[in-house]
Amino acid sequence: MADAPKLVNITVDGKPVAAPAGTLLIEACKTVGIEVPSFCYYPNLSLQGACRMCLVRVEKMPKLQTACTTGITEGMVVVTDSDEIRQARKSMVEMLLGNHPLDCPVCDAGGECELQDMTFSYGAAESKFIELKQHRDEQQWSPVVYFDRPRCILCYRCVRVCGEGMDVWALGVDNRGAVSTIVPNKQDHLECEECGMCIDICPVGALTSGAYRYKTRPWEMKHVGTTCTHCADGCKTTLGVRRSDTGMEIVRGDNRDKSGINGDFLCIKGRYAFDFANNEDRLTQPLIRKGGRLVPATWEEAFEFVGRRFKEVLDREGGRAIGVIGSTRTTNEENYLLQKFARVALGTNNIDHHRTADFPAFAAALHGKSGATASMRDVYNASAILLIGNDPTEEHPLLAWQIRNNVRLHNARLYVVNSRPIKLRRQAASFTQVTSETDFTEFLGGDESLASFATREGWNAVRDKLRAEQGLVIIFGSEIFGEDIQALARFAASVPGAKLLCLGDYANSRGAADMGLYPDLLPGYFPVSGAGKFHQEWKITPAAPGMNIGQMFEATKTGQLKALYVIGANPVGRLNVNPSTLKNTFVVVQDMFLTETAALADVVLPAANAYEKAGTFTNTCGDIQILKKAGEVTTAKPDFEMIVRIADAIGFDVRKLVPFGHGVHADMGQSRGAQSGEADQHAVWLEANGLEPKMSPFDPVATLDEIQRLVPGYDVSRTELLAGNDQHTSIAAMGPGTVQNPELIVPAKNNLFSSGTLGRYSRTLNSVIENKDPEPADAVPTD
């Protein structure tokens, strides 16, 4: 595998082509820009040879050959364009159109249909067939999958992607020859992961999506590539938006350019669960509690009220009487701004978020060890993977896809260690069922001669195999935390080239941790008590650790905490906080919906979601990606703007919060020297990086500048970031982290069809039958 494969030389249409041995002819042609049309061929799926569109003439072969199933051989001479080939393609298209209805005007695929394109490029203007077309009624297989049988051209792409790619095998072929038809696994409907991969891969409009059905046409939408807001894998999803009465409505999600870390893949959440944004329960105006009831108010009124109440608490009792709870679904910029707001404007370290993984311990274990973290792309290319705990098929669909396809296409060895018989064991070279993942981790990182492990059958064998692996990626779920992460890191250090991956649960769980939404840690896992550049930059950082999320709710009960500022979090609903504890606390909530927490608040501010704002997300591997504004609801504001507006209402100078405007730009750091420490460090940094100062306090990019300047590991290329490419941040360069409070980690326990509080507001997620009756993992057949 390490050696580069031998190059084979062939000639295509007179052009010399050199490609590695084993390359398919169709792919070799692509490398010199010669397109060979095909329907059934799809990269990385098994070969079918069904459509016969890719016929080419190979010298010395008696008949036309299918380029998609022919491997290249030395000295091959190929003709891809001649009268004979053109006639063959024309006949193939004519055959396909023999029964394909010409209902392009109403077909959802019209405008992005491969058959339409092929007919224009290679087809005949008229057909010799005069037979009547066989009509079959459209079938609905699930709330998201519709099948129109006459449109199907039997390329079997859907069958292969569902089986090989997804390992679901929910689609099959019934009958043979001309009467073949694609059928779902439950006679008249589908029970599957509802990922929609079959719809995405369908070259025609045979499989169409219930969510997008008959809504608009491809060219009518604006397509915005952004990052999914559901699980922590960070798939790129391209949202199709159209203008609506209230701004821009998201009508479709897909991955049409396949350029993200997810390549072809998207799960049901990335593809369909954008519809929470259009939910009718969405808040449209700020609400203020008056006489026990939440009544609508204007934005000015709400900000003024919040600012006044916060100021009263600050003046009377200081910052320690205010708590701040951040979100795992807001952007890095908003999280950074929020903790800076708490520490600088409110002067408190009482800041926390819903923790779903022990990232501080992860940072502690890998402090100073560069190259020890795996990116999402590494999972696809690693030669071996150890998966401890978690069920990626349900909780991290992209990770599961990467693992499955790595095993299938690169023969990677997968070692699964889990207390449950998770579905990925079907791909595993070794599956070890344990009663506790923690024990196994301690075994890996500990002393093998320990008596307590002597009885564990086969553990030594697994460990020996793992030690022999080159380029191992160790993935662990929230079952592993605290000291055990240290143990795992010790084991990883003993395996050459091993990398670690810690699984959090929400879209920006990692970002919230990296940006310092902790009472004891600053951005980049630097302790609040130590002196560092944050203390120098911000001047007044309180040095004592604040209250964590548990302590905050204790303090509201005792009346110690007078005000609570909650952004995009639902601690009452998700963390079982007793509502009565908030009785005497002034609670401000920024959210999209009236959640359990928002319903108890004194002020509720309607927020924009991640699809409606710009910023960056860091996925659970530490890959940072950009968010672009796709949808728009004019009645909501992004959290970034609201935090700045509240800081302003308190009377705080927002210039100290967001580095916008020119600052001491006249100086440019030159007259006193950039090293003197008296220059405007931010302006110097901007100048050095060729960036302009941002002109608005509401511009999150200004905060991104500060994050990139101050948080080590986030100094990735801005150009790559803006281009929409994922980049791996380095946790090695960050602070020392901390190993404590693992009891605060509450896994989200989301499956494929749930997504925390957000998932409750998605019509699609709630409409699929699998959501109501989740199939237990042990009911999955093993073969």
Binding site: C104, P105, G110, R213, Y214, T216, R217, E220
Partner: protein
């Protein structure tokens, strides 16, 4: 005799003049003429205000394929599509235009939309008196563009229910 020749030539010329004098007038007497067009006369091919046609069952021909909007050089057509259901059937195909607006502030009457229409739903009518003092009046909605409902279709229950949903006064169709 050249003078006789000249007189003959003038008489011949004037004879046409006198002949035409007693013919009926060919100048259009718009707007004082008779009939609904008030004397205006059109070639069949004249491109006036659009008409959205109905099929022989009275259903709308438009299937909201957006090709007219895609083809429109003035970008004056706005459509929102929706799906037909058994209870609410508007067009003959799966989809219909829930909203169909043409902005006559922008329309240049080029006829490309008519060319593009795969179902012959949009056609040019002969309407031309659309001048107004208020530009917002020039955005025509689907209700203004639709062809009149054929008289013989009053008894079609499918058609009636569609009309009710479209804002027409409810009328109970026989047999329902």
């Amino acid at each position: 005799m050249p003078i006789l020749k000249n007189i003959a030539a003038i008489a011949k010329g004037m004879s046409i003049t006198f002949m035409e004098m007693f013919q009926p007038t060919t100048v259009e007497n718009y707007p004082d003429g008779p009939g609904p067009l008030r004397g205006a006369k059109f070639q069949e091919r004249y491109r006036g205000v659009h008409v959205l046609q109905r099929d022989e069952n009275g259903l709308e021909k438009c299937v909201a394929c957006f090709l007219c909007a895609a083809n429109c050089p003035a970008n004056c057509i706005y459509i929102e599509a929706a799906e037909n259901t058994a209870e609410n059937r508007i067009s003959g195909a799966e989809r219909y235009a829930k909203v169909y607006n043409i902005d006559y502030n922008r329309c240049i009457f080029c006829g490309y939309c008519v060319e593009a229409c795969p179902t012959d739903a949009i056609t040019h009518g002969h309407g031309f008196e659309i001048a107004t003092f208020n530009a917002t009046n020039l955005i025509y909605r689907k209700e203004q563009l639709l062809a009149a409902r054929p008289a013989h279709l009053g008894a079609n229950p499918v058609f009636n229910s569609a009309e009710v949903a479209g804002g027409a006064p409810a009328e109970v169709a026989p047999g329902e």
